[in-house]
């Protein structure tokens, strides 16, 4: 497992892409699938920052059976949680966007009334 603590900035996104791409390449995700992962992570981190979450976010990247799983958080914002629950906030809600590019998106409880977002991209699933 690889743990990253990043800010939602273009510079940090670049680092996240490099790390994610490196892990994804080892499980043979295709270029498009890796691109999907990038979109999911960047959307989530941007939404988290927009929702007033702390400027630094934690990501745990893990290789699963035939893909890559990412655990992001812990988050505390109710606004972000609402966007992850299918509530529209103008345009597409975050959940719709994320489900469009990765196979699973789950919101899991975390200590201190926080929650984490766990999502995975699997090889050949899309």
């Amino acid at each position: 497992m690889i743990r990253l603590q990043v800010s939602a900035t273009p510079t940090a996104f670049s680092v996240v892409r490099m790390v994610l791409g490196g892990v994804a390449a080892r499980v043979d995700l295709s270029l498009d699938e890796i691109d999907d992962l990038y979109v999911a992570v960047e959307e989530l981190l941007t939404a988290a920052t927009d929702s007033g979450e702390a400027p630094l976010h934690e990501l745990a990247i893990e290789v699963v059976d035939d893909g890559v799983s990412i655990n992001a958080g812990p988050f505390r914002s109710a606004g972000l949680r609402a966007r992850l629950s299918g509530r529209r906030d103008g345009g597409f809600d975050l959940e719709t966007v994320m489900r469009g590019v990765v196979e699973s998106v789950e919101v899991c409880a975390a200590p201190d009334d926080c929650y984490c977002v766990v999502f995975a991209k699997r090889r050949g699933a899309s």
């Binding site: 939602a8 900035t9 670049s14 995700l29 270029l31 691109d35 400027p55």
Partner: protein
Amino acid sequence: MVEAHDKGPLDDPSARDERSARGAGEPAVGRDERPGEAERDDELQAGPASDGDADESDAAADSDAAADPDDNEIDDEDLIERVVPPTGRGKDESEKLDQFLLRRYHLHGDRHARDQLITMYLPLVRSLARRYSSRGEHFDDLVQVGSIGLIKAIDRFDLTRGVELTTYATPNIIGEIKRYFRDKGWSVRVPRGLQELNIRLNKVIDELVPKLQRSPTINEIAEAAGATPEEVLEALETSQAYNSVSLQAAPNGESGDDETGLIDYMGTEEEAYDTMEDRTMLAPGFAKLDARERYILHLRFFEGLTQSQIAARVGISQMHVSRLIRRALEKLRANIGEGAL
């Protein structure tokens, strides 16, 4: 916001831009643009001799005409002076005018004909430059660079090859603009090897997708490009590096009243750690100094007083202060030495 990924992380714009522009029905600028001519940037170094589409009969006719310019259908030299809007000319007329001017320049050294050609083709340069103007470089700079490509194309044009100037000039202009980006345009300095690998990867991916009938994996791309997966990932990431972001910019690239900039999120060396180390190292030695020595060192090194000022403050001579400071420092050094041993 998420950066654009509609083309995937690789997006060498040249061929795709050319294709999409034509697909969108963008009007040809300067004169008629033949399908496929804009995708010929690979042939930059090959020159007009590499034009496999050249019609042999046209080439022969052109060659004959080149040998005897008086046989040209356009024999009115006043034609050079005519200012005919490119869009107002038919394709045939444009070709004939081009050939006439090219012959005037190459066979007779007519610089005025050369200038006329350059003027006629500047709209093509502007059109091509516009496609690259979203990468952080000034449009006017790109037009200038593209114009150099145009001038080179006109100067190197081979009358005997039977190709149109547009066909030859377009890849030259694009090539010059691309070279500019490769050498200067990347505001984030990316090693040339990575930049070139990035360009190579675009071609490899364009070949692999139809071949595999799916999106290729990093390993497949790496194998086809003769690079390691890490190099491929790194090169792909460089495609994002055309533009730099101000350290004063807001984290999400948005402007606003928030004065927090990217720089506020960047790590710096914490000076307090050095101070802590120094204190930890010096503390045992300080404990061995008497109160007056500690006071004098404090005045000298923390308050920054001169030896004379300390002498006045303590009521002793400057020489005495000097001796006390030296002795106190020797004690500290000795103590640090012991600690180190």
